[in-house]
Symmetry: C2
Subunit: 252 residues, 2 copies
Amino acid sequence: MSEEGQFQPVRPTRAYEAIVAQIEDALTRGTLRPGSRLPSERDLMRQFSVSRSTVREALRVLESAGLIRSRPGDPNGAEVLPFSTMHLRKPLERLARMEGLSLGELIQFRMILEGSANRLAAQLRTDEQVEAIDASLRRMSEAIDEGYAAFSAADVAFHDVVAQASGNSLILVCSDVVRDVVLALIEDKLQRAPDRAALMRQSVAHHTEVFEAVRDGDHIRADQVARCNLYEYYASYLPEESDHTLRALLDK
Amino acid sequence: MSEEGQFQPVRPTRAYEAIVAQIEDALTRGTLRPGSRLPSERDLMRQFSVSRSTVREALRVLESAGLIRSRPGDPNGAEVLPFSTMHLRKPLERLARMEGLSLGELIQFRMILEGSANRLAAQLRTDEQVEAIDASLRRMSEAIDEGYAAFSAADVAFHDVVAQASGNSLILVCSDVVRDVVLALIEDKLQRAPDRAALMRQSVAHHTEVFEAVRDGDHIRADQVARCNLYEYYASYLPEESDHTLRALLDK
DNA sequence: TTTAATTTGTTCGTATGTATG
DNA sequence: TCATACATACGAACAAATTAA
């Protein structure tokens, strides 16, 4: 190998970064499990042989990443938190709000994920899962009369059941996150929609179409219908120029 | 609305959190633009009327989120960084390394992402991007003789150029992260592969197939070929029972 | 090139409010 | 109620790094 013996570029690592790295490492390694406790700040400054401030900077970073939570006076030390989609939501939403990421890209990504989830679900779903999807579809219909909040919750439940049936938890988590961020970005426009009841009925019709494809095991159709429905539902919120990038995902 | 007049649960906000919130706000508002500088830590402690430790905790959090960068001795203060999807890398990587996530799910996810990236690239790519993809393909061929590390780097470059051509930066960063995690999981097995040169030649053949589909604008074929190639490349590392979940993504 | 001023990185000591037993 | 250990926050100090005169 010609690379052997080559040097790698270095960046001065600050003390708090080394601490964060060690604790993150223990987390991915499983040495540190959700629910367990970190040593107290004073113990940590002894173990890492750094000052209290340095330990605290590391803990603040870990806390802002949603990995731990520390409370004043807690004699057990900081708590290691279980994984949550929040960890991904915050940075994604921030990026979208700062226009580092367009709404078009987010919806495009969602079309890909939802389409694939439905494709997989159509092929791999059990009969119980078909029943569960059907049930959440009926729940959506009921929820129309209970207002938008209830309907939205039922909508989320539907997609979760489908993603569950796909058997891929990565799709499930990513879909959840992207959906939430998209809704957060356009919720004001959604609130001002002229006829929300009509929108909800249209949504139920769309979801019914998807359900039938999944039930019949028609994975090609399930995939395509899911993408088309998302496009129809969201296209109006998008700028003209990004329209063709979404249309690229529609056929077949 | 029946919820009106209800109280919201509160959480004591720590000083550093309030500072982070204010700076993030200025960032989304556009008051603070990428490339501009934050005041020095001593200025900030005066403006927020807190101690320097508190200012520093806030700066460390913003820095770990990839929003700013501070260097020792810089008289201009911390630099506001441009918004980039790269900020999603760390949280995404934590997700992909999440406990209970199987190799099969990761590869399935990568098949979906790469397939979609190629599909989009086939439809949206410019002539310059076709040329760039071709160039990185030639680079892969050259790198075979330079060893696995060089080849792997060229491989990464190829996928990056394709993902770039897809126009969706979310696909780019997700593919990157998932690929890295998959490689980390099986690198020991890859090291022990009997004939790595043959593997690399096979890989180049696969990539050539994808390139031709993208060049010809055949998005259906680009999508399918990308999925199949990934399956063929990785299937041998997978347990028997998850094979059918990957095969579900192969046809058409 | 050297020097001087300023900034960040880090440490230490202290005061205050809080949770637990 | 009290004692203890904890986190929060402050402020002074010094070293190392950077920039500009």
